[in-house]
Symmetry: C2
Subunit: 350 residues, 2 copies
């Protein structure tokens, strides 16, 4: 790992829990039975800890949607053709995608980044950070070099740092990349670790036959790249993706500057897993937004031991789950800041 | 049942599904894999069907929080004293309760109605509809007469009709009433039906000993009122509550005028069960907002066969779950109205 990234990864600290008692005391002084708002109380507590303040604020929110193509798409693992990646990047840049609608609903700005779409996507509004024009086919060798993965990580790290500098108080991840459930499943299988069968699903909607083929392609990719899988960064390069590496960088950058981050669904979780393998303290800064309908996501959630905020049977990606989860994090902050206390409202405590 | 209520109950029709194909065709034309937004797509479909329009709109939203006291509180079934009911009614009227904060977050107005608080709650902002000063102790006889239950139903019916007339497009239920999980569990046990043990939980936080006692009190109430439990209206009077009857009326009134309604948690579900027993078509108009942390709620959801929108481990009531679910229904309507289509965005469909 290059020295710059290594220094950043090593700088990530667990959250300081010394303010936790104050936070919980305040929640218990609000006019409700203690703990009766369940996950909302947990969300605001985690938000306070991640941002190191017992006075949580709602402010600028940004969802970063990283786009990239995948050489492994040539193996026929997706229901949609690769040309959909640039088309959807354009759609996001124009504001017509689901993540735009849900981002607006959540009060979050959407930024779309070209990390490695196979063709130029030089539309207004697309942040140009292409590392290369799609990964190589991981079923035949590494998807990218370690140096390319590091470049992609650094793009994400810098975006998180810039978000913090411009005053963002909460950021989220998202992605667009035809075939990207395939490298995500490969990363989970390598790093959780788990069996390929239990982490591989239908992506945007493949049938039984293609699913069987997809599992075979992932197994072949893991075999071809077996020597690279013992180390998170090398695994990311060998069987990951450029947008996945960008997300991983965003997560590392956010954790390093104590900026709470909402992880979208299946693909973003794979990136989060890589980041947490690089430094386990990263997890303190992450909200897992939702349980994806993608079959393998439950396997990740169980093995990694996290409980997502929502289960809306969504499987779209882009950052749509992150956007909806942000609305609940905001709700939890409002509860903390706006409810009356037992004493102020003259309500008996027991 | 009095003729006026009977006529209204009989007027409730199942939704007309003739527009469902148009709705689903439109959802499948949006730039996402078909069905990939999961429950959001189901929510907007149901909203369209309930309001009989394939052009759903976001408009005025109101949550009605019905308050009432319970004679059975004298049996010592709650963690909080009865004086908390009027205190919390005042808190809601002043805007300091959780439902006020979450209602504002959802863009919903909160209206609090005195259906039967034991003491006067004549504060500004409280809708005065007291039927009587708390129910009688159901462990010793019926909680109220059938006539009183009918009066309470009519209050709810009229509130729903008035909401429709003033242009509300979505309404929700909520409640405040110390000890009201006790009559709710009794209603579930009588009407689902189910065992008292599997539907009775800790309410606002009672210990094992009090829980055992609460189960005994519910069993005694069901025994004392056994002759009234075969009919939903008589059961509501015998082992229900004034706020529960108000919610039941609101639900019936909403279904009769095709106004989609969000059911809050455990207590509101008991009211919804009564309404659906009176006319099963009512269910077409209902969104079940969340799975309550109250232990018995899962029993209801399983036996009644509904899947709630959220599971945030909340157990507060007031309408807090309804408020949060409204934000997701709004999100689903925005998806339907604001996303680009495949043709407009130039995205390949497969």
């Amino acid at each position: 790992m290059n020295a710059k990234i290594q220094a950043l990864v090593e700088s990530i600290q667990p959250v300081d829990r010394s303010i936790e008692t104050d936070i919980i005391d305040h929640l218990n002084d609000l006019t409700k039975p203690p703990g009766s708002l369940g996950k909302l109380e947990q969300l605001v507590t985690q938000f306070c800890l991640a941002s190191q303040s017992s006075q949580p604020k709602i402010g600028k929110k940004i969802i970063f949607t990283f786009a990239g193509d995948h050489g492994v798409a040539a193996e026929g693992v997706s229901a949609f053709p690769q040309e959909v990646t640039p088309q959807m990047v354009a759609n996001i840049a124009m504001g017509g995608a689901a993540v735009n609608v849900l981002g607006k609903h959540a009060g979050a700005e959407i930024r779309v980044i070209d990390m490695g779409v196979a063709v130029p996507v030089e539309f207004p509004g697309v942040i140009q950070k292409k590392i290369k024009a799609g990964t190589d086919n991981m079923a035949q060798g590494p998807a990218m070099s370690v140096e390319e993965a590091e470049k992609a990580l650094w793009v994400g790290i810098e975006l998180a740092q810039a978000a913090k500098e411009e005053g963002a108080l909460l950021i989220g991840t998202g992605e667009m990349g035809i075939a990207n459930t395939t490298p995500s499943s490969a990363l989970f299988a390598a790093l959780l670790p788990c069996e390929v069968e239990e982490i591989t699903g239908r992506g945007t909607g493949i049938n039984d036959e293609v699913l069987k083929h997809k599992i075979g392609v992932i197994k072949k990719s893991l075999k071809v790249n077996a020597s690279s899988l013992s180390n998170p960064l090398e695994a990311l390069a060998a069987v990951g993706g450029l947008e996945i590496a960008g997300i991983c960088g965003l997560i590392l950058g956010a954790a390093a500057c104590k900026l709470p981050l909402v992880v979208d669904g299946f693909i973003s979780s794979a990136a989060a897993l890589v980041a947490c393998k690089l430094n386990p303290s990263v997890e303190d800064y992450l909200f897992f937004s939702h349980k994806s309908q993608e079959a393998g996501h439950q396997t990740f959630l169980n093995k990694f031991g996290v409980e997502p905020i929502l289960d809306l049977q969504m499987r779209l990606g882009e950052g749509t789950g992150a956007a909806l989860a942000m609305t609940l994090i905001d709700a939890s902050i409002k509860i903390y800041n706006e409810m009356a206390t037992f004493s102020s409202a003259g309500v008996s405590k027991e």
